[in-house]
């Protein structure tokens, strides 16, 4: 008898924890000792925990990424406005930590986007806006997906916790009965 169900209902193929409807029956059918079952449950529980940590890390990353993209989008809106009004804007930009230099940014319809891997690519403001908007949308979707995966995982974790408690209690009661009849 297995404690893991089918790998459905979520995007990561996380196995579902089986709910023990009847501990007596489960223990009788399985033919395993409580120690064995508890060890299996503990193993499963640890697996879920590792997955949870990974997902939480992913979520933290997205939490940083999303405001970053929003900030870049704000900046592009400013550049667009300046282009429309043919206005030069003065900026202070960071040279090193705590050191700023002044630069004039003339009206321009081009902007460089840092793509990562030491690559920066020049885009028109319109293209950059589209790209960043798309990235923002993807990041938000990824966030939603991560949240729903976490919910699913939490479900399995709680079920496993309750299973462990019930098997443990079942075993304690069994021992007590054994003692009483002995």
């Amino acid at each position: 008898m297995s404690l893991e169900g089918e790998k459905t209902g979520n995007s990561l193929g996380i196995p579902k924890a089986i709910f023990l409807e009847d501990v007596d029956k489960f223990m009788a059918d399985g033919g395993k000792t409580a120690e064995e079952v508890l060890r299996k449950l503990e193993e499963l529980f640890q697996k879920y925990r590792v997955m949870e940590v990974n997902l939480l890390q992913k979520k933290e990353k997205l939490k940083v990424q999303i405001p970053d993209i929003k900030m870049s989008l704000d900046m592009i809106q400013l550049l667009k406005r300046n282009k429309e009004n043919e206005k030069t804007v003065e900026t202070d930009f960071i040279l090193a930590h705590n050191l700023y230099a002044r630069a004039e940014v003339p009206p321009s319809d081009k902007v460089g986007l840092w793509l990562g891997a030491n690559v920066m690519l020049e885009y028109t403001l319109e293209q950059a806006d589209d790209l960043l908007t798309k990235n923002l949308k993807q990041a938000n979707q990824s966030m939603e997906q991560t949240d729903s995966d976490l919910d699913f995982l939490k479900d399995q974790i709680t079920t496993t916790e309750v299973n462990m408690a019930r098997v443990y209690n079942w075993d304690v009661k069994r021992r007590q009965t054994l003692k009483a009849t002995a």
Binding site: E21, V89, D92, F93, D155, T158, V162, M164, R166
Partner: protein, 131 residues
């Protein structure tokens, strides 16, 4: 984590339905904490924005102020800076009110579940915060 399940005894039979309720409680309890954290952060941000807006009032509309975008400061007129701040403020206020709505509905859900679970399991289950 230890607060759920631990004290469940098989004297009370746990049905699949009960398990689902316990799970729902656990998930939403975590969510509540997340949202409340977010909310506190956003409210602090709003206070900062309002302070900035108040500061700008003393300045002349045509005066130039450095306005922070990520890592750089753009020199904007007070009027432009005000527009930027108001824009940020509006979207922030929207986010805050939607978070508040969610917190309220989760709180209601949790207290409903609490009532149901305590009714069934009594002192065999502990749904209170451990810290």
């Amino acid at each position: 984590m230890s607060k759920k399940g631990q004290s469940l005894d098989d004297d009370v039979h746990i049905s699949y339905d009960d398990q689902a309720k316990i799970n729902k409680f656990a998930i939403n309890n975590t969510k509540l904490h997340d949202f409340q954290e977010d909310l506190a952060e956003k409210k602090k941000e709003l206070v900062n924005l309002n302070e900035a807006i108040d500061e700008l009032v003393i300045l002349d509309e045509t005066e130039i102020v450095p306005f922070q975008y990520g890592e750089i400061f753009a020199h904007l007129t007070v009027e432009e800076a005000n527009q930027e701040l108001e824009r940020s403020k509006q979207s922030l206020e929207g986010e805050i009110s939607s978070l508040e709505d969610r917190v309220t509905s989760i709180k209601k859900l949790l207290s409903d579940l609490k009532t149901q679970l305590y009714a069934k399991f009594g002192n065999k289950i502990n749904l209170e915060e451990s810290d």
